[in-house]
């Protein structure tokens, strides 16, 4: 596997790959952009900037942690839509299921161990619901745009369902679902096992002495979200550059041909969809933990389409594009504010799909690395995609 990907990447140490070289081999490939030393240097700089950001900027770190959480949601759609060709409006279903599962489990077991379990349960909850829905769809022969419509419909089902759970009969253990009023009263996100090590991540301003700046306070949740997003991004890079990722891309480009070549297309799509559901579930868990609250608005049509906006603006065939665009669009959306925010989001979406159907980040990458072999391969896939979509 490692040898195979080193053939396609411009790796520096072919003879005796060091640990770092092997890692790079796994992370790089034709399915992701940013396969050069220059990219990784830039990546490290941006990462350092993100680490230092709350220490320098202070208050905005808190809002920024929301963008990082949503970045995970963007990643999940990029995997499902950008790499597997399944346009899903249902990522927010798995997001919401993760959030509600976290809420229910953590309210019932408000100990650090229980809350840690709730995080796992929420993530698995998103994955399981995605697996069920995906099994139903992919093994039922539902394809293309009908998958999209089913996911759209399932969002609306969840909204209608959760909105009417106001009554007391909708109580799971100690946790009332609460209908439109949402579910307050979750315990604060504290991870670990009692007696060994526990740490509270939200509403826990830590003070840290930095030599030049003096004492600064920061929000540990921000670093948790950043670490998970980083792990998610790098992990998905490994996945899409594996053989499995190549199968996914083949399914995206031409489903029938991939099947003719003997790949189990349905299983590949189901696995990708489940994985995407897990990522969305994890994002939901973090969202609920961050706000200490969850309500059915996460199932609204408007929220369901936001991931599609992020991913198509940033470039659906690029994991990096999804993350960058999520953060940028959300930043814009919250800072334009007022009445014009929605109009701006709509216009951005319309313009980006009209002018740059491939997305902004791949376009920038293409401009920056014109002579790069990998990028020309990405270019080469462009026309055939359009054929498969028509």
């Amino acid at each position: 596997m490692a040898a195979e990907s080193s053939a396609s990447s411009s790796s520096s140490s072919p003879a005796a790959p060091s640990a770092l070289g092997r890692l790079r081999n796994r992370l790089e490939g034709p399915n992701t952009i940013g396969n050069s030393r220059r990219f990784w240097v830039g990546f490290a700089v941006v990462l350092l900037g993100l680490v230092a950001f709350p220490l320098l900027g202070g208050g905005t770190g808190n809002q920024f942690s929301l963008f990082l959480v949503l970045g995970l949601l963007g990643l999940s759609l990029s995997l499902v839509w950008g790499y597997s060709g399944i346009l899903s409006f249902g990522q927010t279903v798995f997001f919401g299921v993760g959030a509600y599962t976290f809420g229910v489990v953590s309210i019932n077991f408000p100990t650090p161990g229980g809350i840690t379990g709730a995080v796992v349960a929420g993530t698995l909850g998103g994955a399981v619901v995605a697996a069920l829905l995906g099994y139903f769809m992919f093994y039922g022969g539902v394809r293309d745009v009908y998958v999209t419509i089913i996911t759209l419909v399932s969002t609306l089902v969840m909204l209608t369902f959760m909105a009417q759970t106001a009554g007391s009969e909708w109580t799971i253990g100690e946790a009332p679902l609460g209908g439109f009023n949402g579910m307050p009263g979750m315990p604060l996100l504290t991870l670990g096992v009692e007696g060994i090590f526990t740490f509270q991540f939200v509403f826990n301003e830590l003070e840290l002495f930095v030599p030049v700046l003096g004492t600064v306070t920061f929000d540990p949740f921000y670093y948790l979200a950043l670490a998970l997003l980083l792990a998610g991004y790098l992990g998905l890079r490994v996945v899409v550059n594996m053989d499995f990722g190549r199968v996914l891309v083949a399914v995206r480009e031409d489903e029938d041909r991939t099947q003719m070549f003997g790949y189990n297309v349905k299983r590949a799509k189901l696995i990708a969809f489940t994985l995407g559901g897990g990522f969305a579930g994890l994002a939901g868990v973090l969202y609920a933990a961050r706000n200490v609250y969850i309500d059915p608005s996460v199932f609204e049509l408007y929220f369901a389409t936001l991931p599609v906006v992020w991913v198509s603006v940033g470039g659906r065939k690029s994991l990096l594009g999804a993350v960058v665009a999520t953060i940028a669009v959300e930043y814009l959306r919250l800072n334009i504010g007022g009445e014009l925010a929605l109009v701006a989001v709509g216009a951005l979406l319309l313009l980006s799909i009209l002018v740059l159907p491939g997305g902004i980040v791949p376009w920038i990458d293409e401009k920056l690395t014109n002579s790069n072999l990998d990028v020309s391969e990405i270019d080469g896939t462009e026309p055939s995609t359009e054929v498969s979509e028509s």
Binding site: W81, L87, F136, G140, G141, V142, R143, D144, V145, Y146, T148, I149, I150, L152, V153, S154, L156, V157, T160, F161, A163, Q164, L301, Y302, T305, V308, V309, S312, E339, L340, L342, V343, V345, G346, A347, L348, L349, L350, L351, I353, L354, V355, P357, E386, E389, S390
Partner: protein, 336 residues
């Protein structure tokens, strides 16, 4: 050829049979259980009217118009405003609503869907096309029209505020059921007949069906496919506008009013399948009663859930929609 004739005869025979059955059921029900009958038939017409514009655009152009609900919103607002502000009589105001939406649809088609206007500008300014047409690019057309729908909803909210004055419901009521809703059932039937005649009996309809079946061949035979698409989109939008106009007296005029049509419209199109008139009316006849009965028995929430579950089951077991089943049946009976 003989096969085709036999098929056509089958279609006419069974089509007429189905229509007679539906009308007879209505007449029978109107005497025995008027309220329930009216409610069920009203639900059917709601589904059919919500879906027909969307079905035409989807079936013929391969474009999914996620802004469909907002086209309905436009029709409803145009009707309401021209009735309350300009003092037009209601039928005229409804005509205005449909017309305004059709013209708006034409503009949207030229500017966004076909990219004619941006490409014309692009040719003048930089000497190349700026965008590609959205025909048959389902996912991209969904994303683009969703952007449009966000702009339209929020635009309506900014311009007209959170609600505008409603027009009163015309006519009285029969057996405790508003006459206007009963009239809507008749209007729905008329709309379906008009659409059916337009697509089967006119030269334009032949052109549309030729373009739908095989764009390249149609083009080679001298059909201006681009103009066909343009007019089709305008007709679909006009029908969406008409839906808004017809429901304007019944709904509260909020920028979000399109949402309540979107679910029914999508479900009906998905369940109905490719054929516009047959598919839409049959799925209306299937979904309307389900919606009405479940809403009656267990509340509005149950009705909607039942609708969505039906859609999922239909997609699972009838990938070609009802149209696929009808085609199958026809082939088997006509061919055998």
């Amino acid at each position: 050829m003989a096969h085709d004739l036999k098929q056509a005869a089958f279609q006419v025979r069974y089509g007429i049979g189905a229509v007679v059955a539906v009308v007879a059921l209505f007449a029978l029900g109107a005497f025995t259980a008027p309220n329930l009958t009216f409610r069920v038939y009203y639900a059917v017409s709601f589904v059919v009217l919500a879906a027909v514009g969307l079905a035409i655009i989807f079936g013929i152009m391969g474009v999914i118009n996620l802004a469909h609900g907002e086209f309905i919103l436009l029709g409803a607002y145009a009707t309401t405003l021209s009735a309350t502000q300009l003092g037009l009589p209601l039928p005229v105001a409804m005509g205005v609503g449909a017309l305004v939406t059709a013209v708006y649809g034409l503009v949207v088609e030229r500017v966004i869907i076909s990219g004619y206007v941006p490409n014309w500008i692009g040719q003048r300014a930089v000497g190349r096309n700026l965008i590609k047409p959205f025909y048959d690019r389902l996912a991209d057309s969904m994303v683009a029209t969703f952007g449009l729908s966000l702009i339209m909803v929020q635009g309506a909210r900014i311009i007209f505020g959170n609600s505008i004055d409603q027009i009163g419901v015309p006519f009285g009521s029969t057996a405790g059921y508003p006459d206007y809703r009963i009239a809507l059932v008749g209007i729905t039937a008329a709309v379906l007949v008009a659409v059916y005649l337009l697509f089967t009996q006119t030269t334009f309809g032949t052109r549309v069906r030729a373009t739908m079946q095989d764009e390249q061949t149609a083009k080679a035979l001298g059909i201006n496919t681009e103009r066909t698409y343009m007019i089709t989109f305008a007709i679909g939008s006009g029908l969406a506008g008409l839906t808004g106009a017809l429901f304007a007296p019944l709904l509260s005029m909020q920028p979000s009013l399109g949402d309540q049509f979107l679910v029914e419209a999508f479900v009906a199109v998905v369940v109905g399948g490719a054929s516009v008139v047959v598919g839409t009316s049959l799925s209306g006849l299937l979904l309307g009663p389900i919606d009405a009965l479940f809403s009656d028995q267990f509340g509005e929430f149950a009705g909607r859930i039942a609708l969505l579950v039906t859609a999922m089951l239909a997609l699972r077991f009838l990938p070609g929609g009802i149209t696929g089943v009808v085609d199958d049946l026809r082939d088997r009976m006509g061919g055998g």
